[in-house]
Amino acid sequence: MIEAPDLGSTTLNSADVREWLAYVRPKPDEVKWQSIPWQSDLWEARRLAIRQGKPIFLWAMNGHPLGCT
């Protein structure tokens, strides 16, 4: 059902697609930062900060810090 493409030095076939997916996806050590309950909207974070009586911690990057950057 799944053809094996030529990847140069790497071969992909139906048996190991799952393994390659696991290889490409980030490992737990690489995504520890995801254990922080990041909000994705500054405006909503302001409301939450008032409700919870806490200051805000903003991580700002050119490119979304939680996505492609």
Binding site: Q34, W38, S40, A49, I50, P55, C68
Partner: protein, 341 residues
Amino acid sequence: MAGRAQAFSDPTVIALASERFVPVAENCSPLQSQRDAKGEFFRLVAEQGHYAGHTYPTGTRQGYYTFTADGKVLAAMNSRDPQRMIDLMQTALRRWHTLVDLAVATNGHAGNGAASRADAVPDYVPARPSLYPEGGFVLQLAARDLPREVDTRKDDWRRHAWNLDYAWFTRDEARSLVPEILTPGNRKQAPREIVRRLARFHLRDFVRGEPSVWPEEAIRHGELIAEIVEVSGDRVRLALRGAILLQREAHWVRPEDGEERRSDTGFDATLVGAATWDAARRAFTSFDLLAAGPRCGANQYNNRSDDLGPAPMGIAFTLAGHEPRDRTPPHTIYHRDYFVA
């Protein structure tokens, strides 16, 4: 991407950010000039921070800011060093408690700067409305180089680089991937619009950075086929396969010296995967797709000028979760062609 891990892998940083603050992450590129209340609020904060007033070498306001809900900055910096991050947060908390004590002494209650109630943060009309496809089909992407027989990359962050992104599709677009008649063996070719969005916006070489969108004419070939392999009640299992070939000559002018650069870029991707469609909910309950193949060339912002290839790269697509972070927009969401049929 390496910076993310460096700054936020420390357990003390994670605990402080999670428990003592409301943590929020934003792309500051639009906020630095966005003409709405949110943009103005960001600039109010940023202009009290480490890059206040800076225009050279760039006007970026990247960094880490701690502040009150009404925008009084407690501490700010732009460093990924975990110890400096801890120092920043502890300094901010000391200042925060001073403000709270002062408010109690002055007002008899712990105000939060000017705003003490959630409704003191008014609704506003965003300059750029969210395009999040409510009830739609949201995928998380991860990109990474695949192993090479001969590897000449430096053994630094470039060899270990990986990146994340998101892809958005509407609920109707999700349904359009599934054959109309739910019988094993039936196949469905993905509509042109879905293949086009995958190709132009999501099969970019973003392992090391932020490449530009592929132009329409870069798509030399593109297909994605879903075949039903099993039907069990409302549960429909699908095999996914396809191929997308992208080629173009990228060219850009380096802002630092005005030098023109050109690069033959390409990605010859084979698509393989599996998905589960819930016919009752009319939604995917699983979706795993790998796009893999040789890539070549460099873009202005993808840090590949020392690694032109061809060399193998993989992009993994997975159904996104339902945390606030899973609403992170695709990198290219505001490109005029993203949702255009």
